[in-house]
């Protein structure tokens, strides 16, 4: 293998080292492409996920436009089916997961007092393979004549139930893209999960014991373990689907004696932990925002942490509630019905503790707080509607009806997206040094809150009135007209709220009209606020010594035995806050060895969609992708992680 000879530098290595140096020093495009800095990767994740959120949102608007009246002909059934499939796939795998990953990247090292994640280049690989997978999957739209209205996207639903997902029933390449695209993004998530599990366990600052970690870090840790154990399951399911589709294997072929229920078990054995992969980071964000804006510590910290861990464990024992109607029998349904009901207990503990946090506080109703409170409220509704159809007999009616659509949007939009927006408003000042406009933020919040409830509450009713999911149209006379009209109006209200957010972004960052943030604009509690805004690339000039939970708060305030708050003598806080480097950030930064930028993660990640394309269209392309992957991996393994002086 020629590439193994690197200790003696080849011409290629020299060229790359030169480019790497350029990337290290510059602020241009190259410096972003080769970056291994967790903050930059976090921002890349955030921006990519937001753009994909717009794509998924556009798909939702088309869906709602089609359903606005009965028998509308805005979309053909084929277009509709592909759009709802891509809406689901996009929102789950390309929006909520990477947005959560954006927060993991931005915050975890800062919150635990580290200079970067454990494996910065693996982190870059995670991002690039996510982006590659997302572009690959969305490229499927163009595999047919899109300009004459023929979409090429996957068309068997985001859940890809076999045998509908087999080529006999979904010919064309859409579902090939689905199987391979999700495989790539799954690998990306797995790499991220491994990285953050190691980072959190191994990279904590001195004194940062596990039970001094912010709840967000805890939830990241639980999520990482869920990813580590859930991703291989979906990987196997997707491989089986791929083998069935591309190489005529028989995993789901009933003619050969297979049973398509195998797919459902594997998909939901992954899929239910996945739900908590989507929501636990949001729980973490809520648990950071509520204390800051209530100016009180999180109520019952250990209980919030343990309930999160409990949810992580229990999420492995409830998958059959997606399959009550598949005829698994009374014993399976009873057991999983009870386990599903009981997952309400740890979830309830979280909600009660959040209320306890606000109770008796001094509550500042700033934009992040509004989103966090909104998330708790809407998530509560979603959780409770979940209890109603965890009741197995009741679910026989609600399964695959709009009631379920209402439920999980309350959980994943009402819970996750609201919390994630809260997180954006909360932490943006830390990384940009500017504050979002408060008024526009409140306008966005209320538009979104009203639009959200207008969209999804009526779906409870249309579901109870017997409207099944995933139908591209309905006849009048079913009693569903009004509810669908309301939902569609609501969807456009949500779209308006997103436009307000974009306007706010432009106002704040493009026109640079946003207020200067300062280092600690919210009087917050966790370590990241002890750093200058924007955070210098080395994070901590000196690795902090941690003495307690909410360490930064305790540098600013003292607490007497009754819990009354006394400020620390003026001046002391500021000095400690900057790690005692007295404003000499530049000087302080010089002695620190940070991981050097690298192009190899990008090269390796690029190999994956190329290989996938080859598998679908022409096996001759596969070796090209494999070569990219191998070159990337060997270059990665052999280049020094940190450039010598």
């Amino acid at each position: 293998m020629a590439t193994v000879t690197v200790p003696k530098r080849s011409a290629l290595a020299e060229a790359l080292a030169g480019a790497r140096h350029a990337a290290d020093t510059g602020h241009g495009v190259l410096s972003w492409i080769a970056t291994v800095d967790h903050k930059r990767i976090g921002m890349l994740y955030g921006i990519s996920a937001f753009l994909l959120f717009l794509v998924g949102g556009l798909e939702a608007l088309l869906i709602r436009t089609q359903l606005i009246v009965p028998e509308s002909g805005v979309l053909t059934s084929d277009q509709y089916n592909r759009l709802f499939t891509m809406h689901g796939v996009t929102m789950v795998f390309m929006v909520v997961m990477p947005l959560s990953a954006a927060f993991f990247n931005l915050l975890v090292p800062l919150m635990i007092g580290a200079r970067d994640v454990a494996f910065p280049r693996l982190n870059a690989f995670s991002y690039w393979s996510f982006l590659g997978g997302a572009i690959f999957l969305n490229a499927s739209f163009f595999t047919r004549d899109i300009f004459s209205g023929e979409l090429g996207a996957p068309d068997a639903g985001w859940f890809g139930y076999a045998p509908l997902s087999l080529p006999d029933f979904t010919p064309g390449h859409g579902m090939d893209f689905y199987a391979l695209g999700l495989q790539i993004m799954g690998l990306s998530s797995l790499a991220g999960g491994l990285n953050f599990a190691v980072t959190i366990l191994n990279m904590r600052a001195p004194g940062m014991t596990l039970f001094r970690m912010p709840v967000f870090v805890w939830m990241t840790l639980v999520t990482s373990f869920l990813i580590i154990f859930a991703m291989p399951v979906i990987a196997v399911a997707l491989f089986e689907l791929t083998f069935d589709r591309l190489f005529n294997a028989n995993f789901f072929n009933t003619e050969a004696g297979g049973n398509p229920i195998l797919w459902q078990h594997m998909f939901w054995l992954f899929g239910h932990p996945e739900v908590y992969i989507l929501i636990l980071p949001a729980f973490g964000i809520i648990s950071e925002i509520l204390p800051t804006f209530s100016r009180k510590p999180l109520f019952g910290y250990p209980f919030v942490v343990f309930s999160g861990i409990a949810i992580g464990f229990m999420s492995w024992g409830v998958w059959v509630h997606h399959m009550y109607t598949t005829g698994l029998g009374t014993i399976a349904n009873s057991a999983f019905g009870i386990s599903t009901i009981l997952i309400g207990v740890p979830t309830g503990i979280k909600i009660f503790n959040w209320m306890g946090t606000m109770f008796g506080g001094v509550i500042r109703l700033r934009v992040p707080m509004m989103f966090a409170i909104g998330a708790v409220a809407t998530f509560t509704i979603g959780g409770l509607s979940g209890i109603t159809h965890s009741m197995v007999p009741s679910d026989y009616q609600q399964q695959d009806s709009y009631y379920v659509v209402a439920h999980f949007h309350y959980v994943l939009f009402g819970g996750a997206i609201f919390a994630l927006f809260g997180g954006i408003f909360y932490w943006a000042p830390k990384f940009t040094a500017r504050m979002f406009n408060e008024t526009l933020g409140h306008v966005q919040f209320w538009l979104m809150m009203i639009g959200f409830n207008l969209t999804f509450f009526p779906m409870h009713i249309s579901g109870l009135l017997g409207m099944p999911r995933r139908i591209y149209t309905y006849s009048d006379g079913m009693g569903w007209d009004l509810w669908n009209l309301m939902s569609s109006i609501g969807a456009f209200t949500i779209a308006a709220s997103i436009l307000v957010f974009i306007a706010n972004y432009v106002y704040t960052f493009v026109m640079k009209r946003g207020r200067e943030a300062g280092d600690d604009p919210w009087d917050a509690r966790t370590l990241e606020w002890s750093l200058p805004s924007p955070v210098p690339h080395y994070n901590f000039a000196e690795i902090p010594q941690v003495h307690s939970l909410d360490d930064f708060w305790h540098r600013k305030y003292r607490e007497d035995a009754e819990g009354n708050v006394l400020p620390v003598v003026a001046g002391g806080a500021v000095e400690v806050a900057h790690g005692g480097d007295g404003g000499g950030h530049e000087e302080a930064g010089h002695g620190i060895h940070l991981p050097s930028p690298s192009y190899f993660p990008l090269i390796a990640a690029l190999g994956l969609p190329v290989m996938a394309t080859g598998l679908i269209y022409d096996y001759a392309i596969v070796p090209v992708g494999a070569a990219l992957l191998v070159v990337g991996l060997y270059g990665w393994a052999l280049e020094p992680a940190t450039e010598e002086d």
Binding site: P7, P120, V198, L201, P232, V233, N250, F251, G257, A641
Partner: protein
Amino acid sequence: MAHAATGHLETSTGLDNRKLLMWFFLASDCLFFGSFIAAYLLYRDRSLVGPYPEDLFDIPFTSVSAFVLLMSSVSMVLALAAIQRGNVRGMRIWLFTTAMLGTLFIAGQAYEFTEFYHEGLTLSTNLFGTTFFVLTGFHGAHVTIGVLILLSLFVYSLRGGIQQKDSLNVELAGLYWHFVDIVWIVIFTLIYLVQP
């Protein structure tokens, strides 16, 4: 092998980042193979047409190749022990031995696959063909990657890249190798030996 960003610093758990990463990856891989094995067991005896496992399995042959893979774990242990004592030459010999034993196993698998193919078993013949080839194929791919890692380490060490202080590289490769070996023991037991 990837180097940790802050490899010089003490880690919170005292375990090296890369070692922790490898353990978590192997935990994840357990579920990967577990899922394929579950699919195989679910479809055992459900094939509608032959050839069936009992028509094809050559237990003595596969026992030998399982033994070869098992022995490669022994040589892997010896390679690690050598480098930990600073014996680079001994490590090279045992690394190369391990890689060759792995290659021998892969060759055995290739022979077995070819035999089965000639007996009429393909990926699409029946459920047995599908689940068997995909499960053992993925295991074979793991072994192949392992062989590549071992050979890379071997070549790297020829150029002086691995000294006593770098023994972790060998240890990580070893962890992976032993895992793949253990997976084979499970597969060999459940798929070949335990016939209903």
